[in-house]
């Protein structure tokens, strides 16, 4: 008989091993999936995980790693604060869109003024856009006790419609000959989030992501507020007795995650994406949920997980163009990763025992 026995203390070793095991299991299961689709499983996995880093064209893909990883890390750091405290913001995609719209809106309002303060103003507007959008579920939860999961998710669909309206209407390029989409910010130097070192992929969003990792680490490890977040997640009653104000915590966690998601959206739209279009968002807000969990809700872990997830995006692109692997297969692959992680997490808190229970 195999049975589960609760560990007296959660295993630290297993908490660290679970993500690694999950990645290995996903590679195996993913390989089987790719084989079922008629692709060579080993070649597919190698293409996804090896090619972007050390392959022939790695010089081209490595900068992409930063470009794809930065928004994921930025968003996931914000989400992890809330997830730790049991506050579920799953509408980061909407906050990402709103941040991009606010920021791009400010930038386009200044067009064609060539002054230094345009980009900083856009950054502030982008952060504000994401923050405002996240404040809606936060205030509703604090004031009326409304479920933040459902509200933040509903707001993603609202934001998507708003994006469609903006890119077809207010923000449409007046010289775009009627095509949907805004002016290209890459051609407006004052608003362009260019690479800090040309060709390195290192734009301001990458810097912001690294700052966010440090900020998250200090907050959780060294600050009272971070302690309040951890206590609320692990023992809500104890947190209340120790004087944690739940309403303030909700406002802070949702607000911060919205702000960071908004920043991610702004850096994307003013840099790699370049313009506001109906579908410039590619689901980073949802993938960041996987990144947050895969990184154990820990800032350093999230940094690594963001890199890994960026790798699957880029590797998936390569595999779909070279091997004809369907793009959706990568989405399934990323979903599997979260499944395996959640499953392996069992062994952090429980261990397997063989044999029968002795009668006392």
């Amino acid at each position: 008989m195999i049975r589960l026995e609760k560990r007296p203390e959660p295993s630290r070793a297993f908490a660290l091993a679970a993500p690694v095991l999950a990645v290995v299991a996903t590679m195996i299961a993913g390989g089987m999936l790719f084989a079922a689709l008629g692709n060579d499983p080993v070649a597919s996995i190698v293409t996804i995980f090896w090619e972007p880093l050390f392959g022939e064209f790695a010089f081209y893909y490595r900068p992409q790693l930063l470009i794809k990883g930065a928004p994921l890390v930025l968003i996931a750091i914000g989400l992890s604060l809330g997830f730790k405290a049991g506050i579920w913001n799953i509408g980061a995609e909407g906050q990402y869109i709103m941040g991009a719209l606010f920021g791009a809106g400010v930038g386009l309002a200044f067009y064609p003024a060539a002054t230094w303060y345009v980009f900083p103003l856009m950054v502030i507007a982008g952060a504000a856009g994401g923050w405002v959008w996240a404040m809606i579920p936060a205030l509703l939860k604090v004031r009326f006790g409304t479920n933040e999961i459902l509200v933040s998710l509903m707001l993603v669909y609202v934001a998507e419609q708003f994006l469609a309206s903006m890119s077809l209407g207010l923000l449409r390029n007046p010289e775009g000959m009627g095509f949907p989409g805004s002016r290209n910010l890459q051609q407006y130097p004052s608003a362009y989030n260019a690479d800090l070192i040309a060709g390195s992929g290192m734009h301001w969003g990458v810097v912001a992501a690294l700052v966010a990792v440090i900020f998250g680490y200090v907050l959780l490890a060294r600050h009272r507020l971070g302690f309040a977040i951890r206590v609320t997640g692990e023992a809500p009653r104890a947190a209340r007795f120790s004087g944690v104000n739940p309403a303030r915590l909700i406002l802070f966690c949702l607000g911060t995650s919205g702000l960071l998601a908004g920043l991610a959206g702004l850096f994307e739209v003013s840099g790699p994406a370049g313009q506001v279009t109906i579908d410039f968002n590619v689901g980073y807000g949802f993938t960041a949920i996987i990144v947050a969990f895969l990184g154990r809700l820990h800032p350093v872990g999230i940094l690594l997980a963001g890199g890994l997830m960026a790798l699957t995006y880029i590797g998936g692109d390569i595999a779909s163009s070279n091997l004809g692997l369907p793009a959706a297969a990568i989405q399934v692959f990323q979903g599997m990763l979260l499944f395996f992680l959640l499953a392996f997490d069992l062994f952090t808190n429980f261990r397997l025992r063989l044999g029968r229970t002795e009668a006392v």
Binding site: I90, L140, G145, I149, L150, M154, Y157, L168, I289, F350
Partner: protein
């Protein structure tokens, strides 16, 4: 704009159709939540059902076979969630999100070769001469079998939960799983069965969208209906008959919004299209005051040792 262009008979018949996917998904989730499990993967199970149903209906030429496949597909994919939360004791919120992300990816993968195909049509039920009654005939008696099946399902769930021993056991497991366990009920098995039932229902709802409501296959076509179904369960205070009323109210609003788009009202299309989501939020705010109706063990995992 000419509001008289909206035909009231067609309008009501239309909103019954708009409400049906919601009814399927929400009634399944209602049963799941009554047993104390919060499955946020409704959207993922719906879209999985939508593509399973669509593919099988196209291949076999039989829409009913499609619906059967959708129910099986939804139940099978829900087993992933059941395994994670019931066996591996994973967090239910995270597992539900995982199921949704996975379901969206999987359906996009399966659906690649089905884009742009028309599915076989499920004919309306033949009520004979009854269907010729003015107003009532075209409004109530001119629909497909699955619309009536959804109604019957709600009534059945209501009867089972309220009047039968099975319903009592389901509710006991949801209110207090420790007590139910002490009485000798197999909490994990009962919950797994409920999760599969919820998956099957969500699958049917998804297939109703892809086979009847739209009817074609596009990626991510459920567009948040699964999440609205979750909100609807809260709206209904976990009561089946209130759920029915809620679904029809909601279906009515969606249909009204579509009709307003069609007659060219002076509001931009995008703002009309976002209205269902905004209305859901408003309803959630109005009703969030009453949390007492929620099952006692909702969202908590059960392990016999703890």
């Amino acid at each position: 704009m000419d509001l008289s262009a909206i035909n009231p008979v067609l309008f009501i018949a239309g909103f019954l159709v708009a409400a049906t996917p919601l009814i399927f998904a929400a009634i399944g989730e209602l049963v799941v939540e009554r047993t104390g499990v919060l499955n946020l993967g409704v959207e993922g199970m719906m879209i999985a059902g939508a593509i399973c149903g669509f593919a099988v209906a196209v291949e076999t030429g039989s829409p009913l076979a499609g619906f059967a496949a959708a129910a099986v597909g939804g139940a099978v994919i829900s087993l992933l969630f059941a395994f994670l939360t019931q066996v591996m004791l994973a967090n239910q919120v995270a597992s539900g999100l995982a199921l949704t992300l996975f379901g969206l990816g999987l359906s996009a993968l399966l659906g690649q070769s089905y884009v742009g195909i028309k599915p076989p049509r499920l004919g309306d039920v033949d009520f004979g001469r009854l269907a010729d009654i003015p107003v009532i005939g075209p409004v109530l008696l001119s629909h497909d079998l699955m619309l009536y099946a959804a109604l019957a399902l709600v009534i059945t769930v209501w009867v089972v939960l309220k009047f039968t021993r099975l319903g009592l056991i389901l509710r006991a497991v949801g209110e207090n799983h420790d007590a139910a366990h002490a009485l000798g009920y197999k909490v994990v098995r009962i919950r797994t069965a409920a999760i599969m039932f919820g998956g099957a229902c969500a699958g049917l709802g998804g297939a109703y969208i892809s086979l009847i409501r739209v009817p074609q296959w596009t990626e991510g076509m459920t567009a948040g209906v699964g999440w609205i179904a979750l909100a609807l369960v809260v709206f209904a205070s976990w009561k089946p008959l209130r759920l029915l009323i809620g679904a029809y109210l909601f279906g009515g609003l969606v249909q009204l919004q579509l009709n307003l788009q069609a007659v060219g009202v002076a509001i931009p299309v995008e703002y009309l299209a976002m209205s269902p989501y905004v209305i859901t939020i408003v309803v959630l705010v109005i009703l969030s005051a009453d949390k007492t109706a929620a099952p006692g063990s909702l969202g908590r995992n059960f392990h016999a040792s703890s």
